[in-house]
Symmetry: C2
Subunit: 226 residues, 2 copies
Amino acid sequence: MSNAAIERRTTADDVYDRLLADILALRLFPGDKLSEVVIARQLGVSRQPVREAFIRLDNDGLLRVRPQRATEVRRISLSALRDARFLRLAVELEVLHIACSTDTSAFHARFDSNLKQQKKAMDSGRPDRYHQLDYKLHHLLCKSADREFAYETVKSSKSQVDRLCLLSLSDTREMIETYDDHCQLVACIKENRCEDALSILRAHLSRLDAVLETIQLEHAEYFDPN
Amino acid sequence: MSNAAIERRTTADDVYDRLLADILALRLFPGDKLSEVVIARQLGVSRQPVREAFIRLDNDGLLRVRPQRATEVRRISLSALRDARFLRLAVELEVLHIACSTDTSAFHARFDSNLKQQKKAMDSGRPDRYHQLDYKLHHLLCKSADREFAYETVKSSKSQVDRLCLLSLSDTREMIETYDDHCQLVACIKENRCEDALSILRAHLSRLDAVLETIQLEHAEYFDPN
DNA sequence: TGCTCTCAACTAGTATGGTAGAGGCTGATT
DNA sequence: AATCAGCCTCTACCATACTAGTTGAGAGCA
């Protein structure tokens, strides 16, 4: 019975998780100024663990820490978003390439089950549940190509965009369109129609452009004017 | 005269750079144990900046910091290498896809110049210079596709592998083969032969497999037995 | 009114002391 | 000889004092 994988958690870990969640859930807004001292007081810890959490969040590109200046939640950079989107596209294209070139039949039942649940979530108007299944499907795609780690790239790119989407209302029409994409993607994989799968994915991801543009116009204050 | 881009450098930054260079140049070996106190003494600073550098290197996956345990240089994980390679392949495939679908003529002279220098470095037996130009060519490819940031992914994946290559002798035959690939890649881009470019890139990157396998057998002690 | 200078308040960076956990060594016990 | 307990040392973690650079508000002057 090996417990080797269990790592002790530190105060700094807790602070990091807390701040990360706050940023992604937009309880902390892009542009907000943070202070080691203030956060430390709020969480009842010393400056040190807060400082370490700041360093890690700076590494993640979520905070901007500069000597002797107030630390702030990074504003959303359109070029960074574009870069993350490119990365996700590149990764998912290659994942699909592999999935369409190999035998993925072991996953077909799970694809179908996921799609069925997506439809249910859509019909009963539960966008939260739908988004969760959306993530899960892309995760399944990575797994079926034996590239599960690639899902990390997809997830981090997607969560950046999703943070923005919290700013706008969830769009039912959007859900229907993406559901349709999902069904087509799965069909292509089952039938090893590689080229079709790739072009559907390109269209799928490019749908986000319109959404982003709208949000940027509505909430210019959260964006980094490059 | 704007100096806005100039960020003050801290002691912690210096320590980070120093340790990073030492790890990548194999002056610090995978498995080596480090200590905040020892490094601090060596560099003539306090423990604090060293600690912060450790945190950042841990984030980069180069160190392994655990509470109350000696910090160590992470051993090389074959699965992590495989993942990095996949990422690089995916990114460069899409970069090439763009490069072949757009007008890159503004870069053709720079491609040619780079290749000419590569040949010179190869003929005069200067593998260091050759590697430098190799990086530069891949950087140029990203720029020509207007995806310069993608070079970061390529570079970090490549530098992981290159660290390993320091363990083995540089192979002249290897240089000749990759030079040939480079020439073909550039030719395809110039003539917008997308499919050809992609398959050449796949072959180009898969050359690394054999090298990796050899090194792993010769230096098992640096590898993480997954 | 509007500009500039000064200064106080606030920022993160650095140094250092104390703490608790991990691991190795020694010696006793079986 | 093997094993186990207890101790001793070493580790990183956390708290806190101090330092140095940034910022912004307000006084004073034009």
